[in-house]
Symmetry: C2
Subunit: 193 residues, 2 copies
C-alpha cells in the first residue's frame, strides 16, 4: 500500500502544505478486503471512514420486488462511506460490497472527531470532502433528469472507462437506472455506428 496516493488524494480535495497533508495521511490505517467481502452491512452503523486506494466497490439495496439495486460504484481514489450513517452514527440502509480485491485507508469515527476538534485544516478538508461528494451526487442527479440512458452510459464510459473493465455490466446498468438487457442493446446500438 502506498500512503503517498492517500496524501495526494487529500491534497486534491483541499490544497494544503505538504507537511499538513502528510500528517493527515499518517492518521489513516491501511486495510485490505477480498473480493465479495462486505465493507458495511445494512442496519449496521458506519463506524469507520474509508478511502479507496485501489479496487472497485459497489453499494446496493433492494427495491419493492426484493431485487438488488446498485446505488453507487466506487473507483479509486475516493471516499467510501454512507455519510449519514457515519456522521450521525446511525444505521445504514445499504450494503457496501467489494467487487475486486481492495486496498483502503481507514480512520475511526472517534479519531475523525478528535481531528476535527484539533486541526482547523482537517475541518476544512472534511467540509470540502462533503461538498465535493455532494457536488458529484448532484451531477449524477442532473444526469438522471437531463440525459437519456444512452448519454448517461456514454458519459460514464468517457469519465470512468476503467469501471467497464472491472465491474460486471449488470451492476453498471443498475447504477445507470436501467436493466442489463437495455444496456446490452444500447451498447449494441452504439457499436453499430
Amino acid at each position: 500500500m502506498n500512503r503517498e496516493i492517500l496524501q495526494k488524494y487529500i491534497t486534491s480535495i483541499l490544497p494544503m502544505p505538504t507537511d499538513k497533508s502528510a500528517f493527515f495521511a499518517e492518521q489513516f490505517e491501511p486495510i485490505k478486503f477480498s473480493k465479495d467481502e462486505l465493507l458495511l452491512k445494512e442496519n449496521k452503523i458506519n463506524k469507520d471512514t474509508f478511502v479507496l486506494e485501489s479496487g472497485y466497490i459497489r453499494s446496493f439495496t433492494f427495491n419493492q420486488n426484493d431485487e438488488e439495486v446498485t446505488t453507487n460504484i466506487f473507483s479509486a481514489p475516493c471516499f467510501v462511506n454512507d455519510f449519514l450513517s457515519f456522521f450521525k452514527q446511525q444505521p445504514t440502509s445499504e450494503n457496501y460490497q467489494c467487487l475486486t480485491h481492495c486496498k483502503l485507508w481507514t480512520m475511526s469515527y472517534e479519531k475523525v472527531q478528535t481531528c476535527f476538534h484539533t486541526y482547523p485544516e482537517f475541518r476544512e478538508f472534511g467540509r470540502m470532502m462533503l461538498v465535493t461528494n455532494y457536488s458529484n451526487l448532484h451531477d449524477r442527479m442532473l444526469g438522471m433528469v437531463k440525459d437519456t440512458a444512452e448519454n448517461r452510459y456514454l458519459k460514464l464510459m468517457k469519465n470512468h472507462p476503467d469501471i467497464f473493465q472491472n465491474v460486471p455490466l449488470k451492476f453498471i446498468a443498475s447504477y445507470l437506472g436501467i436493466t442489463d438487457t437495455s444496456l446490452s442493446r444500447i451498447r449494441k446500438e452504439i457499436a453499430s455506428k
Copy 2:
C-alpha cells in the same frame, strides 16, 4: 418575518441549547423576493447562503436541446444554495427562481466563514446541514434508480402535498424526470383508481 422559525429550523438540523440557536439565528438577515425573481443566476457566484422561511423556489438548467430542466424544488423550511458554488466561491451552472413571493434569511460567505472559525457549534451545525442535504439528495437519487415515475410522484405527493398547491405541474414533472404529458397521464391513471 419570524426569526423563531429560523431558530427552530436550526435546531432541527442539530439539537442545541436555546441560547445557542437563538444566537445563531441572530446572525442571519431577513430578505424578501418577489415571484419570478432570480435568487442566483448561472455563471454567477453564490455569495450568500439562504434559508427559506416561506414560499417556493426552483433551480433549473438546460439540456442538450436547450429546454429548461427543473433540477430542484425548495419548500420551506430549507437551505437554498448551490453548495459547490457557495463553499468554493466558484460560478454556479444553475438558476434559482422564486415561484412565489419568498421570505428568506441570509448570511454572507464571509460571515459564514467567520462563524465557522469562531463557534465550534456553528461548525457542527454546518457539517450536519451538509450531511442532511447530502442524505436528502441521496434519497432522491435512490428514487430515480429504484422507483417508477408513478412511485416517485406518489412519494412526493405524500411527503410534500403543499408543493402541488404552489408549483406548476410542468416543473414538478421535470423535477421527477418525466414530461408534463406523462405526469398528466399518471395523475389521471391514479385518479381513476
